[in-house]
Point group: C2
Chain length 198, copies 2
């Protein structure tokens, strides 16, 4: 089964609807997905940004929140803006990377729904622990694995890889032939491209 990489960042607003939509879109095209959590922070810092561009450029931020409202309403997905925005996403990214397969995608979706559907503070260990438990995973053991030096180094390597691929935002689909499709509004296009490559 042909495979596509789904790169996402837990602090990224458009990664939320994408994480909810992507599995059904991939299945409909007979594609398998590799969920790849990463951090946009290093990529933004390389561009000279020390905050989300949606905060640095308020007009862009206003547009994005309204656009996200419309997008979520059209999907029937709840939306509650977390405070502060962006949320600290390091812990969630480490935990997601320490999981594999469906545990990773289930946990990741649950983080996005808690954060952007319910406004929950995903930087808190209590929030992450509760989400792990709700996914049927052992919070203490998973957090320990997530915060091992090996897993921390693995996440750093993922961020380096993202920059090398040419990822400049989240979410992105990356196809086997190296094409990058950026945005929740590019999921169908990226999956169709990958399906044509076979």
């Amino acid at each position: 089964m042909p495979s596509v990489e789904f790169w996402y960042e837990f602090a990224s607003t458009y990664s939320y609807p994408a994480a909810l939509r992507i599995a059904a879109l991939a299945e409909a095209r007979g594609m398998s997905l590799v969920w790849r959590p990463f951090l946009l922070g290093p990529i933004f810092v390389a561009q000279g940004w020390r905050d989300s561009p949606f905060n640095i450029y308020p007009a862009k931020g206003r547009y994005m929140w309204r656009d996200l409202e419309r997008t979520c309403a059209a999907m029937g997905a709840p939306l509650k803006r977390p405070e502060p925005f962006p949320q600290p996403s390091l812990l969630a990214a480490r935990v997601a990377l320490a999981l594999e397969g469906e545990s990773r995608s289930d946990f990741s979706r649950s983080v996005f729904v808690a954060e952007f559907g319910d406004g929950a503070p995903i930087g808190d260990r209590a929030t992450i622990g509760a989400l792990l438990a709700a996914c049927g995973l052992d919070p203490a053991a998973t957090l320990e694995r997530a915060e091992s030096e090996a897993n921390k180094a693995r996440l750093k390597a993922e961020c380096v890889r993202a920059a090398e691929i040419g990822i400049i935002g989240a979410p992105c689909l990356v196809t086997g032939d190296g094409e990058v499709f950026w945005g929740n509004d590019r999921l169908e296009q990226g999956l169709d491209w990958a399906a044509r490559q076979g």
Copy 2:
């Protein structure tokens, strides 16, 4: 017939495929269009940018050009990057604004095709004059009207209006109830929104 405003900037890459697509999309939904040329320059300057963000942030620029290649290829539209990028768009915007109705949309499409399909220098009076003639319009008389003080002032007012509406890039659709949809990838969504408002 319900109406939507199509705001576009001749230097904007994604305004090119949007200008080619929008008329058929609007017609299919029974919507009429008001073509509103404007300049992004003042909006970018207000954000602290003195150049296209695709030049200021090279990684973003590389992504955009590849994305535009894919978009144009999928439409069967030619793509040739104009040099320099962005092209000076002031003259074309003044001319488009001095025209009305189908003359404006026909001329505007021809500018985009010359600029991004053929790499033509749209800041040159000779280029603009030839495009006007090809549209069956009188180059000398149109240029004179375009460069009248009244028309220059009108374009300035359009730019102020764009910023007031919350436009942060091009192209944008603006609906009767004040919603802004930014991007070639939001044309269908914006037109569908407007059609539901009736």
